[in-house]
Structure formats: C-alpha cells, structure tokens
Symmetry: C2
Subunit: 371 residues, 2 copies
C-alpha cells in the first residue's frame, strides 16, 4: 500500500509518496512540456518511468554523475536544455537520481524563469531519506559544497523502493546514516503520520535489532523511510528556511561529518560514513558537556557499530588535521558569526552554542585526530 | 523629511527609505562583514556611502556596467568575492547601482549559502521606481533577459535623490516610463501610505502638467517616487510570486516593450522608451477590445507624448518584425501556455487572455510594423 505525506514549507507544498513501484508517466503531469533529467546510472530508471511518453513533448538530459560534476556546468546544461525545449515557467523539471542530481535539478528549476515546476524521483537511500525532501537545492562552488543554492521544495517526491534494486552496497551505507539520524530526532508527534505507527524511540531500537541488515521480509524499509520522511518533514515545516533553531537539528553529525569529508579529500569518505562518524563525535561532545545521558550515547553508538560504521576518532583513511580544524571553525551553518553544535539529549537532540566546554572538547578531538 | 515604507512580500520584509541624502555606513549594518558591489559609474556613490568604513571588513567589487554584462560571469564574480571575503550567510551584500546591478547582486545574495542579507541603493530613476523593489532578481542567459532568477526581496532599499545628480538624460527617460506606468495602476488605497497624500488619478494629471520636465522646486520627484513605490509595493504584497493575477498588472507595457527591445537589438531602445511605446500599444489594444475608454487612452497618450516618448507604431529605429512577433508569442509571462495582455481600463488596468480579438489587433500591429 502506498502511503502519502503532505507538508507545507512556508509558501510551498510537498507531497511524498512512499511505495513499491516507480511512478508511470500518467501519474506525473508531463504536459505541456517536461524536461527529464538523469545521470548515466539512473537513465534506465527514467526510461522505465517515461515509457511511451518519451516522445516529442519530453526531452531527456543525461548528466555526468558524481559530486565532481556538481558545479555550475551541470546547472548550465539543464538551463540550456530547458531553453531549447522552450519550457515555460509552468513546465516540469522531472529528475531521477541521487542527492547530487536532485540538488542540481532543484536549483535549476528554482531559477529557471524564477521558478518552474519540480518533481523528484530519488534513486538512492540517501536521497529518499533526506536529500529530496525539504527544499535545499545547490551546487558546489570554489571547492565548497553547496556554496550556491536556493530553498525550493519539490511539488512531488516519489519514493519508490523499486529504484533501490540496483543500488551499490556503499550507497546503502551512505543512506542508512541519515535514517539513524532521523531515528535519534524522532518525537512522539512524528508517529502520528498516516500509515506509520511506531512508538517514539522504537525506530532506534528497530535499527539496532536489524543488526546491520535490512530484513528481507515485511515493510521494514518502507517503515524506516516513512519515519525519516516524517521526522524531516516535521522539522522543516516548523522552520523551513533555518531562521529558527529547529531545522538546525538536522545538522546532527554534519558539522563533524562535513569536516571529515573535506579533510579526507572530496569523495574518499562517503557522506553517510562521514555523518555516522560525526554522530559519534556529537555523542562524545554531548557526554563531555553532560547533555547526552550515558545510556543514550551507548544506544546510539551501538546502532552505528551494528551498521558497520567507523566510530573511533582516528579514521582509517588519511585525514588532514588542518583542513578538519578549519572546516569545523568556518562551518557554513554558523549563525551571527558563532558556531553551533547539535548533540543528542535524553530523548532527542539540542543545539549548543560554541563555548569554553565545546572548545575543550574540540581541542582534545584535534589532538586525538593528529595522532 | 525622509519617508519610510514597509512591505511584507510572503515571508520577506522590505523597508524603503525615500530621502534626499545617501545613507552613510552607520545606517547600514556592515558587521560582521559586507561585500559592497558597484559598477564603474556608481563607484563614487558607493565610496561616499562607505566613507571611513571602507576598511578591512568591507570589500568593494566593481563590476563592468551594462546589460551586456548581465550574465553568469558577473554572478560568478560576486560569489567569488563573497567567498574570498569569507562572508557567512549573515553577511551583507550591499549594492549601489541601476537595475542591472541590483538584479545581479540580488541574485547572488539569494543563492550565496542559500540566502545572505541584501541592501540596495538604487542609483537610477528606473531602479528607484521599479527594479530595486519587489524581489525579482536575475541574469540574462542564452540571449534571454532574466531567464535565470529568483524571488528575493532586499531587506533595505535606500532611495536617495542625491544619487540622481549625475544621471544621464537617457536614464531619466528610461525611469519616467515606469513612473507613468505606476500612475496608471494607482488605486485609492495606495494614497494611504505615510507621507504620501495624492488623490487617485492625481499622479497621472501631475505628470501631464509637469509637461516633460521634473519641476525644480518642491518635493515633486520624491512624491512621484513615493507613488511608484507605494503602487508597486501594494501589488507585490498582494501577489508576491505572481501566482495570482495581481502582480501581472505590473507588466503593463512590458509584453510589447520587451518585444520591441528584442526586435531592435539589445541596447538600441532603452527599457523605458520600449515600455512607454508598449503602454501606447496596450492603450490601442484596450481601445480595440472596448476596455479602455477613449478619454482614458487619450490622457495616457498625452502624458507619454509630454515626456517625449515615441508612441506611433513604426519605430524610428530598425525593428525586425519576425523577432518582434516571435517575442510577443513566446512571452515569458505566459501562463498555462497562454499569453496574457495588460490593458488600461477606466480606472486602472486589467488582464486579458489571448483571444480572437487580441489576435485581430496583433495581426494589424504586425502588418503596420512591417510597413
């Protein structure tokens, strides 16, 4: 049974449909015209969606995949294709792909004639659980991830498990970290969504019990995706543009994670592995600050270990301590010049302004990392 | 006496200050860091604003002026400068310039870290009366004006008459057309703004009486700017993203005007001259459709003539009829595949969907233009 979730992000509305099958073109408004965007890995998925509709009213653009292609060149290619197709501002940008492709297509749609229509078919676990929902678009600039971007939620997001059939192992691991993050942020109210009935905290236990393997039978995975979508949707609804402090909670694990990604060199550590390692750091900082209870930290670390994530400070890949330190201290998410950290608390997570105690923890972390 | 107008555009707030003097840096939040943007013509104005504040916390970027430089290259230069300055998302983009510069700086600010702070000092009559207010940003792409853009209203807009001291004659003419357009769209409610007390319709009469010359004494010009700002602000408040039909009224004269600009070749006819000619066409179409009363059309045509605008169909510059026709029929503002025209009515203006009658008028216009 497909389940549907509707969110209001400021003046935008997003509908998420979680189900087994890919949508067919009849379910997606393709007229008067549609630019379909994919990369070389997701082209077969897009072809399956478009089917017989891949005729003259639909133009398919295949972009090169990977973070190294997440630059202005790709945005330009999308805008040029839209222009050649003669797309109006009521035309549809339909993208099938992972986080990189969803971010690029979302950005291009947001600026084309100051905003065209946008539908996403995320094809990785990471994009389904996190990247495709919530309106953040962007591309990399001057070596900085997503330095340029917009807030532009997709109208429709089709989370189809069928799209995961050919997903590589590494991509599973990258997506599961965001699901674990969502489980840490789960609140009682998030369980109220239609088709989703877990008790708060149950998701984290379910992740621990699964012990690093997605159960073959039952709706386990769609339940977990529903949980991640519900958690993220609720947070973004409360604070769409991260002007308050609610949306910043989604950065749990990301300040440390982004710094690790940068310090290991772009593409060496996957986003999910970096976020998982970052969540472990957030637990340690939370312990040092007396915010994260011992049992809670242990439960989170257990789940991370169960799913095969590296949680100890010295990372098995070479890490440049200078870049790491600099990345932490110049974090894009800083507010009014100050850095904020997200650390797990007894039942969720909370924001901590950079202070003497966080400084002490960071100094220890920098020292340990150099060993 | 400076007057201040506050508008709410969706989730954004804009404050417009109309006054004699340029702001000084103390009035603009320059900390923790500010990227100041200008072109070679407006650099002296920016220097006057920054004064002693032009120190290490402020970096000034001078862009090449003109529509031909309104491309991605200029956006990229702004983003690179912001990055080198280490601007955070709470950093300020401060731009002093005409419509092109305001659009470019606004776009760059809107995408830098998904949205930095933005303050504008419009330095042309056109930018003061129209371009700087209302949130439309953009740059030209593939030869199409503002094909890429965002909706991102500036927090503060300083309309300082002092900035007009060195404005060339051609630029005055370009801006006055938008003021005439605003006067046509003026409603009773628009007179309620603080510091502005004209009767509806009085602005159009005042423009006719001035007879093509800005009166040297008295607050005539600041009154007219207050009228234009009030009219535009009210329209944009009612329909920030042009999802309804209110904001589309601001396109009065622009469908025909943009087509003329394109058909004469970029830069040959100024935006204001093209808009004035377009308003004349809108009057003629409105007459043909029985929407614009004869007296109203005559009053508008009189004002256009008084200010020296060319209003007859054959334009004194070479115009490519094929480009003109194509531009009208592929107008960016089209909705659901259809084109809409704005024509003056008895007391304001209204939208007309393209139909048999507009088609008949267009065919006559295309024929007359080829003569």
């Amino acid at each position: 049974m497909p389940t549907e979730y509707n969110f209001t992000f400021g003046s935008f509305h997003s509908r998420v449909i979680i189900r087994e099958k890919l949508p067919d073109s009849g379910e997606i408004a393709l007229l008067p015209s549609c630019l379909a965007i994919c990369d070389e890995h997701t082209e077969p998925i897009l072809r399956r969606i478009l089917g017989a509709a891949a005729n003259s009213t639909v133009f398919t653009l295949v972009l090169p995949s990977g973070e190294q292609n997440k630059g202005w060149n790709s945005v330009e290619a999308i805008l040029k294709a839209a222009r050649r197709l003669g797309l109006g501002r009521d035309g549809l940008f339909l993208a099938a792909g992972g986080g990189v492709l969803c971010d690029l297509a979302g950005f291009a749609a947001s600026v084309y004639m100051r905003g065209a229509r946008l539908a996403l078919v995320p094809t990785t676990l990471l994009a389904m659980a996190d990247a495709a929902l919530g309106g953040k678009t962007g591309f990399d600039f001057e070596g900085i991830k997503n330095l340029a971007g917009t807030f532009y939620p997709a109208e429709e997001i089709f989370v189809s498990l069928e799209a995961l059939e050919t997903l590589p192992e590494r991509e599973w691991k990258s997506g599961m970290a965001e699901i674990i993050k969502a489980a840490i942020l789960e609140r009682p109210a998030d369980g109220q969504a239609p088709g989703f009935s877990r008790e708060p905290g149950e998701s984290l236990r379910a992740l621990a019990e699964a012990g690093g393997k997605v159960p073959a039978a039952g709706p386990w995975l769609s339940d977990m995706l529903a949980m991640a979508v519900t958690v993220k949707g609720a947070v973004v609804q409360a604070d769409p543009r991260e002007t308050g402090s609610e949306r910043a909670l989604l950065n749990l694990g990301h300040t440390f994670g982004h710094a690790l990604e940068a310090a290991a060199g772009l593409g060496v550590v996957s986003h999910g592995e970096a976020v998982a390692w970052g969540i472990a750091r957030a637990c340690r900082m939370g312990r040092a600050l007396g915010i994260t209870p011992r049992k809670r930290a242990a439960a989170i670390m257990d789940v991370l270990s169960a799913w095969g994530y590296h949680t100890a400070v010295p990372y098995p890949a070479p890490v440049d301590p200078g870049i790491f330190k600099n990345a932490i201290l110049s974090d894009k998410k800083k507010k009014n010049g100050g850095i904020r950290f997200v650390v797990p608390n007894a039942d969720r997570a909370e924001l901590v302004e950079h202070n003497g105690d966080t400084e002490t923890y960071l100094e220890k972390l920098f020292t340990d990392l150099e060993r």
